[in-house]
Symmetry: C2
Subunit: 443 residues, 2 copies
């Protein structure tokens, strides 16, 4: 076989990069479980019909078919493109076995046939948390879900030097109530135009609102002014009030957003801002919406987004409202790894290489390794009874910090310092920092 | 949406079943890393041409294609059906960045379009370890790889009551050398017929060897006798010698198998037997071969198989010999979970539910939860400020063992015993056994 080439859009990590990813996934799992989220995995495929919303497949779906399928074999399957559609299906399938509000996290690969570019992949890992109610779901969960994700991201900032994040939050009730208070009926149409504000600017947005939706110049101007409001505390309330629009739904949205910003500033200070330009496109959000930027890497776009749905799933009789937020793990790590933002202490789990005197005494080396592993120290035995110098170089090339010589009561050498000491494999321990590979920020 | 039905062959676990699976995966990872195996993941798809061996696609491959692909879009991709083919491709792609012998583990889903039945799935998780050399790989790795898997399975036996295993091992050199010593040239043809021994019996096997391959009745009889040899120690050597066949390759095979059985009996006593009927079908093994049965569940077939390849991958100039063994995680757990072989202490990670007096004091409950989580105690806040009785029932239905009442210096109730004590969320700890859900054997 000639040397294979990578497939564009299907990133694969080297072992040391995988250690960074694994550290991130472990931290997410730890945080989500601390908050009582249960883990599930769903199958990679869904019936094609399920991968659509309102009958239309808007995403670039991969169709899956057995190579030896009969013509009659009509099972039309597709790879899931997110973890929300499978969750909705899974909850309906298992609703009888679940307790509500149901809290789950799910960390899996998803596939999209999009044009590959930096941060856009065809196969990538997502980590989602969602809270689902049966019939109803209290508004305080809209505060809870993004704070769990912020806590996870903050832990990653502290542990491995992930750049800090800034979560931009808004509330659909606030925007829609505001437009309603201005006398607009088709509030969704306004939202769609205001969503372009970042790209086309204030003037063009206002003009579109007038020309396409027939808003008065004054109303259009207020819609644009609303979208410019941004504050890292509850200051946005006074700024909205200054626009002198009143509406009950607007009040409810203001209250909900106030609670979210206050609670976030208490629990994870400095990581949130109310940003009334956030619309989250055409997704069917009905309350809070979230987008998250990595500070210093804003060009990467949102790494973690979500919001509140009034009906995430429905079987016709019962509706399941939900709130959730998704982290694009590959999308986050791909660009950071490519820019060498992290250093991994070593690319292998191995802490100790046990040297082998001669193939006749390999069994003695295996005894040493077993004694070390029994106490949780990752250990390998040298592949070949070479000269000690060669065995030390083998450890060095693999990044293994220690080499053991002789039997269980023998000697251990830190090959970084050259320091060699008598040691008993039944009680010797390396420094905590050397036991497992760990991740640090570069520099 | 009507209530969706499961897709045959695509198993999905409920949260408590996922806890069992996660415990198994954690134990595998721990064991593999203790032995210095580095983790990688490969993309789910390979070019279709790569999913074949010698040009033929023997497995039921799923083809993957973008729904909106152009006619011109000729990227023929398929989902991988194992983790060995992707490893071979990956190693060739990255050989310049790797140190050899390269030790990797890989735990991922694979897909096969087979007819679904118990223990046979269309989507399932495999856990593989492999050791690859560049140009050459010492024979002691053929002993090492199966012992690492046995150690993992033994740890699962001790921790969660996985039934004990029995690994059946053989060596291709032994069989082929034996046939060669009998004067047979097409040793592979003999192997293919002897592989049917379990199904068709001794007499039919001997007859086939005579009628199809032209062996003498005496030689055919010896081939059959070889396949009947089984011993849980090195007794097989004398039984083979008693058949009075001599060959150098046979001697080498006997030596390798002896070392494996001796070392296994030393490191993981009672879990291995030499079984000279094991042929592992048509796979391109060239040395040791392994198959593993779950004791008491032999009808499930082999849950963990592998062996030695002289050339796992090759770029034409350099050959990469390898030895590996794969555990069928879903294949192992699917039938055991269906038979309720395990009990999970609770289906949620949550250890403590913090009761809420009234929605006005929810923030106080959030403070308690934050204090508990800061010390690693998975905690949820009650979704609703109901009467305490209702909040306790909510915890009970979710399997949460403790309910907290009042502020950080408050009271905690073990709802199983009814015992309620004053406690400080800044220092209270549950019993170690209650901190996280755990898995026990049923009964």
């Amino acid at each position: 076989m000639a040397r294979p080439k990578p497939l564009s859009g299907f990133p694969e990590f080297l072992p040391e990069e995988r250690i960074v990813e694994q550290t991130v996934l472990d931290t997410l799992r730890e945080t989500f479980e601390l908050h009582g989220f249960a883990n599930i995995e769903t199958r990679a495929v869904e019936p094609l019909a399920q991968l659509s919303r309102k009958g239309e497949i808007t995403k670039e779906v991969y169709v899956v078919r057995r190579l030896h399928a009969d013509e009659a074999d009509k099972d039309e399957l597709g790879l899931h493109f997110d973890l929300t559609v499978p969750l909705a299906r899974w909850v309906l399938e298992h609703s009888g076995s679940l307790q509500f509000p149901f809290r789950r996290y799910q960390i899996q690969k998803v596939w999209r046939g999009e044009r590959p570019q930096e941060g856009r992949y065809r196969e990538f890992t997502q980590a989602d948390i969602d809270i689902l109610g049966q019939g109803s779901l209290a508004a305080h969960h809209d505060v809870e879900a993004p704070l769990v994700m912020l806590e996870a991201l903050e832990r990653l900032h502290e542990r491995i030097g992930l750049p800090p994040v800034l979560m931009h939050v808004n509330n659909r009730k606030l925007s829609e109530g505001f437009y309603r208070g201005l006398g607009v009926e088709d509030t969704l149409a306004v939202l769609q135009i205001v969503d372009k504000y970042d790209k086309i600017g204030a003037q063009a947005t206002a003009e579109l609102l007038v020309s396409e939706l027939g808003l008065s110049a004054e109303a259009a101007d207020k819609c644009v002014q609303l979208a410019t409001i941004r504050s890292d505390d509850t200051g946005f309330v006074d700024q909205v009030r200054a626009l002198q629009v009143t509406d009950e739904l607007l009040d409810e949205g203001l209250r909900e957003l106030t609670t979210l910003v206050e609670e976030a500033n208490k629990r994870v200070p400095g990581r949130i801002c109310a940003d009334l330009s956030i619309a989250r496109g055409l997704d069917y959000y009905t309350g809070c919406v979230y987008e998250t930027e990595l500070v210093g890497f804003e060009s990467m776009g949102s790494i973690s987004s979500g919001g509140r749905y009034d009906s995430l799933a429905s079987d016709g009789r019962t509706s399941y409202p939900g709130v959730g937020i998704s982290l694009g793990v590959t999308r986050l790590l791909g660009p950071l790894l490519a820019r060498k933002q992290f250093v991994v202490s070593r690319p292998v789990p191995t802490c100790v290489l046990v040297a082998v005197d001669s193939e006749q005494t390999r069994d003695q080396a295996l005894d040493v390794a077993a004694a070390l592993r029994a106490r949780g120290i990752p250990t390998e035995v040298a592949p070949k009874a070479d000269k000690y110098g060669k065995q030390i170089r083998h450890a060095d090339r693999r990044g293994i910090p220690f080499v053991w010589f002789g039997p269980v009561i023998g000697e251990v050498k830190d090959i970084r310092s050259g320091d060699q000491q008598p040691a008993d494999a039944g009680d010797w321990m390396p420094d905590e920092a050397d036991l497992h590979p760990h991740v640090l920020p570069a520099e």
